[in-house]
Each structure stands twice: as structure tokens, then as C-alpha cells.
């Protein structure tokens, strides 16, 4: 402190001011008071931040679980319903991932040569083989929000596919003094983050190797641009750029999380072809990278059965989607053969992969731990060996709801569509499949042990003992993984033997988290660089942005509460046998968790969610009314279907996109009806034809009687207009 330091022009003689003394004791007391008071404020902010985080994460994982449930449901249909031609074909195509037999045929299908680039095109022109200039041009164009012509997209993708096919399952990389390596985590379509990383760290080159650890796509709106840039660099520097597959490099996941929609939106004519080629590319992405034989980099993590030798040996491209294990032939209850090896991604009971049906209710007592990986998933039975007589009836019911034929018929054993290269799936494939799922979907947990990750629906939770075991087995010293968003962009666990790196900043909401990347030299000590891609964000402290993020999380949570209205009221009424209209806050918390199953600390959240609680009691009907969610305009006579629609927004959209086989974005009324039939079967609900027709009529159909999927989904998106935030 001294003269001349101050920027203030208010007090000219700053020196004098400072030298005026305050009785020391008073000053100390004052300072103490302020410090105490301020620290309390900061601690409460931290609590709120953690809570907000939990909200976002729970909702995110519940969504993933939902997706897997839906996919399993389709598998169930495929396994147990004989083809009634058109209906089954609505969805069967998603299981037929190798429609044309040989690579040569595929090359013809993907050929870009006939695609003309018109003179009016003002985006970048690319020449091949790809050069550094080409990729730079691409990046500049994307910064200017230009779009690459479909011809060039297919060309890049084609070249990438050819290159990936000769890469091994596990990349081995060496780092030396002149060549530090950079490791990036999830990007999720957030182009600003990738550009920020390149800006801060430099572009990939012979001297600057990079590892990108999966999840390049979905959620953000520039997934395709990110892929094209990464593939571009891969083509130019194949020895220095390494891409690992993430769980979102999976076409089934993409149906739900936005990548499919993005591609089809940007490329109306060639989108379908691009998506198909990407399917292949994703299946050919390497599964892991090992640095200096000591550091393993993989997207999700490991399990107690992870064996890198098996991983290195397998045909990774068999597993186009990792969401279901490869099918093994087994007879059904009736002795009919319910399909065969043609459906590569169908499930089976082989090698003891039984999934137990879990009860829907959360078995932990109210107010108990929120931090154990939550196990309240209802798994659909998938194995034929588990079927018993009563399921026969369930099958019939499902078929009826789905509008399928009532009669069983023999299935033709093999399509001419199957890929002869793959032959019949075997037990080995089941084992290999598990290796991949574990690598791409698992999460670490603090306790020892290893068990199924029911929250996400795929992979495992693994403990520090498993880390030691697997790292020890392969003589490794560090596991770097991504897959989970972290407040500071990175986080160690398991005694610093596991490192999570996440590169998508502001992932949940503006200001929710920083992104980070790792620099590593031959000493294999990770150094972190953090960032946050947003002009407004950088000026806020992380704590200031808590308020913003929190409001957003609460909005999302209120939506979840709203869509479960009926179930909530039902649950509340169980605690209100005398119909007084009020229940205690404790019961409110119990009931809410029972319905939403998000594992959130409802008691802590209560003040944010319930305005009026007199004497520890809440008027639940009024509370629900006051959730302040406005319903969108189109009104339908049957309100329960509205609720179904909100609850199953993503499921509906996924089914629509599956049914829309020509990827036109439009479906016919009949397909619309079929979608609802499928959904009602999945949810085991009755939805009458009349209700569906009413619903369709409330929509503004295009003149040719087709429905625009995007428009439909938008029309039924909930808007939260709550003002008290």
C-alpha cells in the first residue's frame, strides 16, 4: 500500500487516508465479523452449486437410461414378434446395420463423384489428399458459419473410413521431450470449445500430437463440424492425431441426442447417406490409446473383466451400436425360432447375461444416501430362457397394443440382407461386446467393487480396487477417461490413479463448468489448462454463475415435476388418506422421490420448489398448479395423452426418427399412428385410436397429410414461465 497505486480519482491524497488509524482491536473485530459472515455465504453457495449439479446430472442420466430402455424394448419386439411385414419393418431396419454386403458395394453407395457442386456454392472447396491448408480452410469456413458441401463431406468421410479401417483397436503413442501430447475429453458438438483449445494450445501437427477421447457429437449444434475438423486433422497427421470412440459415437444414441437431427437438418438430400457412412466410421473408431505403455486413455473406463488383450484382438467394427449385446440363436417358448443371426444387435440370454427385473420403487429408506449409484431401473426381461407362461399373455398384450398381427408365424431364418462376413454371433462376441460397453460407458465410484451401471443403463461402476487390479495387470500407471462432466473440467479419483478430463465448458448451462485439456510430457505428469467458452462467462466468477445455473436446473426440475403430475398427485394422496389436501414436507419428499426416482436431496431443494409451507405441511394440489409451466397452445380433448407426450418427449422423437426411414423429416399419418402404438406398447398403456386421431387433427398437417417431426416436437415442448427466479 502506498501512494500512487490507486486508480481512484475520488480521493487525491490517498496516502493520508491510509495512515488514519483505527483502534486495532475494533478493526480486528470488524474484520472477523465480516470474514465469518462472508464465508458462511460462500459455503451456502457451494451447497447450492452441488445441488444444482446433482439435478442436472440426475436428469441427464435418467435420460440415458430412458434411451436404453426404449432400445431394449425394440429389441424385445424384434425377438418376440413375428414379422407382420410393414409394422415390424418400421423398426427392424435399425437392427439391420449391414444392408449391403461388401465394402466394395458400400464404396459405390457412398460415392460422392456424381454429386455436383453448383456455382452458387460459396463454402470452402477441398482438394484431396487432404492437406493442412485444406483443414485450415475448413476451420475458417466454420468460424464464418459456412456449411461444407455434401460432396466434400462424403469425400472426407470416405477417406476417413478408409484410414480408420487400417488402424488397430488400441493406438500406441510415444511421448518425448520435443513432443508433448495433448489430451481432450468430451466436446459434444461445442465447436467454440474446440476452437478455443486450438487457439490456446496450437493446432495438431507433427510436433503437436493430440488424443481426442470420444463424445465428439450430440447435444451441441456443431457436431458435424467438429467431426469434419477432427477427421481432417486425422487425415493430414495420421500418426499424431488419435481418436477414441465414445458412447455417443453410436447411431442409436444419436437418434435421441441431436446428432441425427443436426445432420438431417443441414443436409436434406444427402443426410441419410452421410449418417450411414458415419455409422461405419463410428464402428471403426479405435477404442483406446496407450501412451508410453503407461497411460491408458479410454472414454468411459474399465470393469473388473477388462482385458486389453481381448480388446486388442477383436473385430471392433462388428459392434456398430453398443447398446445391446449380439444375439445368439435360441428357441422361444413355442419352439419357434424367433429370428436368428441376421439381427446383429439383438439380445440373448447367452453366457448367463441375464438381466433381473428390478422393482420400480427405490428400496432405500427416505432421507438416505443419495450418493450410492442408484439402482432403481426396471430392466425388461430379454432372455428367452426367462420367459414363463404368464409372459405369454404379456406378449399377446404387447402385440395387441403395438397393433401387430395376432398370429405367430415362422420367421424366415436369414435375410438376404445379412452380412456373410460376420456369420453367426457366438459367446465370444458377447464377451467382446461387454468389453466395449465397459470401456465406453463405465463410471468410477468411491467404494471398492464392480457392478452394473443401472443409472445410465450401460457399463459398470468400478472401484479403486478394480483400478489397481487392471492397471497392475497391464503394467500401467494412470487411467485417463472422460464421460462425466466436471465442475473444473477435470478431476482425480482413486488415489490419483484415475483422471477424468472433460472439454465441453458450460455443458449443463452457461456458467455451469469449465472445460479442460491435459498436456503431458515424457514424465507422464498431467498438466491442466482450463477455460470457459463464453464472453459473458469469463467475467463472472464461478460462484456468481451458480445463481444462473441454479435457476436453469430448477427450471429443468420443475419440468420433470410437471410431466409427472398425475403420478405425483397419486403418490401424495397415498399419504393423505383423509383427503385433507395437505401432507407433511417429509411425505412430500418421500413421494416425490418415489415418482421421479432421481435420487435428489428433496429436503434441501424444498425451499426452492415450495413457496408456501405452513407448519411443515404443504397443499400439494396448489403446489402442482403453481409449478408455473405453461402448456403449449394445441389443446387436445384427452389431457392424459398430453402428459404422456411431455413425459415421453424424447422417446417419441426417437421413435419418429426411427420410423422416418428415408430421413425426410416427415411422416405420414399412418406412421404417426404406428409411433403411438409402439410407444403405448413400450409404456404398457392403452391409447385409443380416437385419441390419436384427435391428436393428429389438432396438428396443422401439411396439405399432403404428412407431419413434420420437428414442428410436432416443438409444438409440444414445455415452456417454463416462472417468474420467481
Amino acid at each position: 500500500m502506498g501512494c500512487g497505486m490507486g486508480k481512484s480519482r475520488i480521493q487525491p491524497n490517498k496516502c493520508d487516508r491510509v495512515s488514519i488509524s483505527v483502534p486495532a482491536a475494533t478493526a480486528i473485530r470488524a474484520a472477523l465479523l465480516i470474514q465469518r459472515w462472508y464465508r458462511q455465504y460462500v459455503a451456502r453457495l457451494e451447497m447450492r452449486r452441488r445441488c444444482t449439479w446433482n439435478i442436472f446430472q440426475s436428469i441427464e442420466y435418467a435420460g440415458e437410461q430412458d434411451q436404453i430402455k426404449l432400445y431394449h424394448f425394440f429389441g424385445f419386439l424384434m425377438d418376440h414378434f413375428t414379422p407382420a411385414s410393414s409394422e415390424r419393418n418400421l423398426i427392424s431396419h435399425i437392427f439391420r446395420e449391414n444392408e449391403v454386403c461388401r465394402d466394395a458395394d458400400w464404396e459405390r453407395y457412398f460415392c460422392y463423384k456424381d454429386i455436383e457442386v453448383p456455382h452458387s456454392y460459396c463454402g470452402p472447396h477441398l482438394t484431396f489428399p487432404m492437406t493442412f491448408c485444406g483443414v485450415s480452410k475448413l476451420m475458417e469456413a466454420f468460424k464464418l458459419k459456412q456449411q461444407l458441401h455434401a460432396r466434400y463431406v462424403l469425400q472426407i468421410l470416405g477417406e476417413t473410413w478408409r484410414l480408420l479401417r487400417i488402424l488397430p483397436n488400441i493406438n500406441h503413442v510415444s511421448v518425448c521431450h520435443t513432443k508433448e501430447i495433448t489430451i481432450c475429453g468430451d466436446l459434444h458438438g461445442q465447436l467454440e470449445d474446440l476452437l478455443l483449445i486450438f487457439y490456446k494450445n496450437g493446432l495438431p501437427s507433427c510436433e503437436k500430437p493430440y488424443v481426442f477421447n470420444g463424445d465428439f457429437v450430440d447435444r451441441g449444434k456443431n457436431s458435424l463440424e467438429i467431426l469434419l475438423i477432427l477427421f481432417g486433422f486425422l487425415l493430414v497427421y495420421p500418426n499424431e492425431v488419435h481418436l477414441n470412440r465414445g458412447n455417443h459415437e453410436d447411431h442409436i444414441v444419436n437418434l435421441r441426442y441431436g446428432f441425427t437431427k443436426e445432420v438431417l437438418g443441414k443436409y436434406r438430400v444427402h443426410g441419410k447417406k452421410i449418417l450411414k457412412l458415419l455409422q461405419k466410421i463410428f464402428s471403426w473408431l479405435p477404442l483406446a490409446t496407450v501412451i508410453n505403455h503407461k497411460v491408458l486413455v479410454v472414454h468411459g473406463g474399465i470393469s473388473d473383466s477388462t482385458d486389453l488383450d481381448t480388446v486388442a484382438r477383436m473385430d471392433r467394427h462388428r459392434y456398430v451400436s453398443v447398446l445391446r449385446p449380439p444375439k445368439v440363436i435360441r428357441p422361444t417358448l413355442n419352439g419357434n425360432r424367433a429370428g436368428s443371426g441376421k439381427d446383429e444387435d439383438a439380445s440373448g440370454p447367452a453366457e448367463g447375461r441375464r438381466r433381473r427385473v428390478r422393482s420400480l420403487t427405490n428400496t432405500s429408506a427416505p432421507g438416505q444416501r443419495n450418493n450410492i449409484p442408484r439402482r432403481s431401473l426396471h430392466n425388461l426381461p430379454t432372455g428367452g430362457a426367462q420367459l414363463n407362461c404368464s409372459v405369454e399373455d404379456e406378449l399377446k398384450e404387447r402385440r395387441r397394443l403395438a397393433g401387430f398381427d395376432q398370429t405367430y408365424r415362422e420367421v424366415k431364418t436369414l435375410d438376404s440382407d445379412s452380412d456373410p462376413e460376420f456369420g453367426e454371433p457366438t459367446e465370444t462376441h458377447g464377451h467382446e461386446w461387454k468389453q466395449i460397453v465397459d470401456l465406453l460407458w463405465s463410471d468410477p465410484m468411491p467404494q471398492n467393487g464392480c457392478f452394473s451401471n443401472e443409472v445410465r443403463g450401460g457399463g459398470c461402476y468400478w472401484g479403486p480396487d478394480v483400478t489397481e487390479e487392471v492397471l497392475g495387470k497391464h503394467n500401467l500407471q494412470l487411467l485417463i477417461r472422460s464421460h462425466e462432466c466436471k465442475q473444473d473440467g477435470y478431476e482425480f479419483c482413486h488415489n490419483r490413479r484415475v483422471l477424468t478430463i472433460f472439454s465441453a465448458s458450460n455443458y449443463y448451462e452457461v456458467g455451469s463448468n469449465r472445460g479442460a485439456y491435459i498436456r503431458m510430457g515424457p514424465d507422464l505428469v498431467p498438466h491442466f489448462i482450463q477455460y470457459q467458452a463464453s464472453r459473458t462467462c469469463r467475467e463472472l466468477t464461478l460462484r456468481q454463475s451458480v445463481g444462473w445455473t441454479e435457476r436453469s436446473a430448477l427450471r429443468a426440475l420443475r419440468q420433470q415435476l410437471f410431466v409427472h403430475k398425475s403420478d405425483l398427485v397419486g403418490a401424495f394422496q397415498e399419504f393423505d388418506p383423509n383427503n385433507t389436501g395437505v401432507i407433511s414436507l417429509r411425505h412430500w419428499a418421500t413421494a416425490t422421490e418415489r415418482v421421479l426416482k432421481l435420487g435428489l436431496p428433496w429436503r434441501v431443494l424444498r425451499p426452492q420448489l415450495i413457496n408456501r409451507a405452513q407448519h411443515g405441511m404443504v397443499d400439494y394440489q396448489q403446489w402442482i398448479r403453481e409449478l408455473s409451466i405453461t402448456e403449449p397452445k394445441p389443446e387436445v380433448s384427452d389431457t392424459s395423452i398430453m402428459e404422456t407426450m411431455y413425459k415421453n418427449h424424447s422417446n417419441l422423437e426417437t421413435i419418429f426418427r426411427i420410423i422416418d426411414t428415408d430421413h425426410s423429416g416427415l411422416i405420414s399419418f399412418e406412421e404417426f399412428r404406428q409411433t403411438w402404438k409402439l410407444l403405448s406398447s413400450h409404456l404398457k398403456m392403452e391409447i385409443s385410436d380416437k385419441v390419436i386421431t384427435d391428436l393428429a387433427q389438432s396438428m396443422d398437417f401439411n396439405k399432403d397429410g404428412s407431419i413434420d417431426i420437428n414442428e410436432f416436437m416443438e409444438a409440444f415442448r414445455l415452456a417454463d414461465l416462472s417468474t420467481h427466479s
Binding site: A31, L32, Q35, W37, Q40, N371, P446, Q544, R603, V604
Partner: protein, 163 residues
């Protein structure tokens, strides 16, 4: 009468126990009813207590599992219950905080310069770390004039305060 009072007290204690458990849980990462000792301060704050750092240290000394760095709920619960029943670390009234700032604001300007505040916060009492100081300054300094209007600051922070 005595019975009523007693049962009301018991009810009160039950409520307190539930509150303490709810505050403890989010930090019990391994579901073993233990938390890291470094979280104790945050837990106490979240229960609407305003201890000084010295108070927190003293409390920890009472409840920590022989310098293991962890605190078990079995010891935390009775100690914390006592704190809450005795209202040992009550919230600071707004007027008192205002007075404290006024003490630091010798000329009664109504605001503090960042350098002034820093000097006090980092040299007196239970000093802030550089990180804490940076955080406070970034969050609450008026950008245009580069000063801290403490009445505004107090208003902002007490708006959030426990009711």
C-alpha cells in the same frame, strides 16, 4: 404440562436430528456415515451457523476420529445437536455487519476501495486466502468505479440469508 413440554422438546430434537442428517448426507460420498474433516465448516454453515474458523477448529477437535481426517456421524450428531440447541453460532444481524464495514470505512464514504478491503481481509482477524479475496473482489466490486459499495453487498448477501 411437564409432559407436553418434554414431548415438544423431543419433537424439537427429532427435527434437529433430521436436519443434521440431511446436511451431513451430501458429503458422505462413500455412504459410510463419514465425511472429510474439511467439509465440517461447510456443513455447519449450511445449518445456518456462523462459526469463526477458530470455532470450527475447536469443534473438529471434538469430533474427529483421532486425526484420521474423517468425522463420523455418531460423533457429529450429538455435538452438532448441542450447538443447534444452544444456538451457539447465531446468524449475524444485518446491522452488525453494516457497523463492521463502517468501522473499516473510516471516512464514511459509503464504499471501500479494493486495496482497503484487501488489507483488512487478508491481514486482520482470520485472514482470507488469496483465492477467497479474489473471489470476493471479482464478485462485488463495482466495475465502473472500482469500489465496493458495502450496503449493496450486504443487501445482496442477506437476501439469500436463512429465514
Amino acid at each position: 404440562m411437564a409432559e407436553d413440554i418434554e414431548s415438544e422438546e423431543n419433537e424439537n430434537i427429532l427435527v434437529i436430528h433430521r436436519k443434521i442428517t440431511a446436511a451431513f448426507e451430501p458429503f458422505d460420498y462413500e455412504s459410510k456415515n463419514t465425511v472429510d474433516v474439511r467439509e465440517i465448516g461447510t456443513i455447519m454453515y449450511s445449518l445456518d451457523c456462523f462459526p469463526t474458523q477458530a470455532d470450527i477448529r475447536e469443534f473438529i477437535a471434538e469430533v474427529e476420529e483421532n486425526s484420521s481426517g474423517t468425522v463420523h456421524l455418531d460423533r457429529f450428531m450429538p455435538a452438532m445437536t448441542k450447538v443447534l440447541l444452544e444456538n451457539k453460532f447465531p446468524p449475524i444481524p444485518r446491522s452488525k455487519i453494516f457497523q463492521a464495514f463502517k468501522v473499516l470505512d473510516k471516512e464514511q464514504k459509503g464504499f471501500l476501495e479494493p486495496e482497503e478491503l484487501t488489507k483488512f481481509m487478508m491481514e486482520e482477524g482470520e485472514p482470507f486466502t488469496q483465492e477467497e479475496m479474489d473471489e470476493m473482489l471479482t464478485a462485488h466490486t463495482n466495475r465502473k468505479e472500482n469500489v465496493i459499495y458495502y450496503d449493496k453487498l450486504i443487501n445482496k448477501l442477506t437476501a439469500d440469508a436463512p429465514k
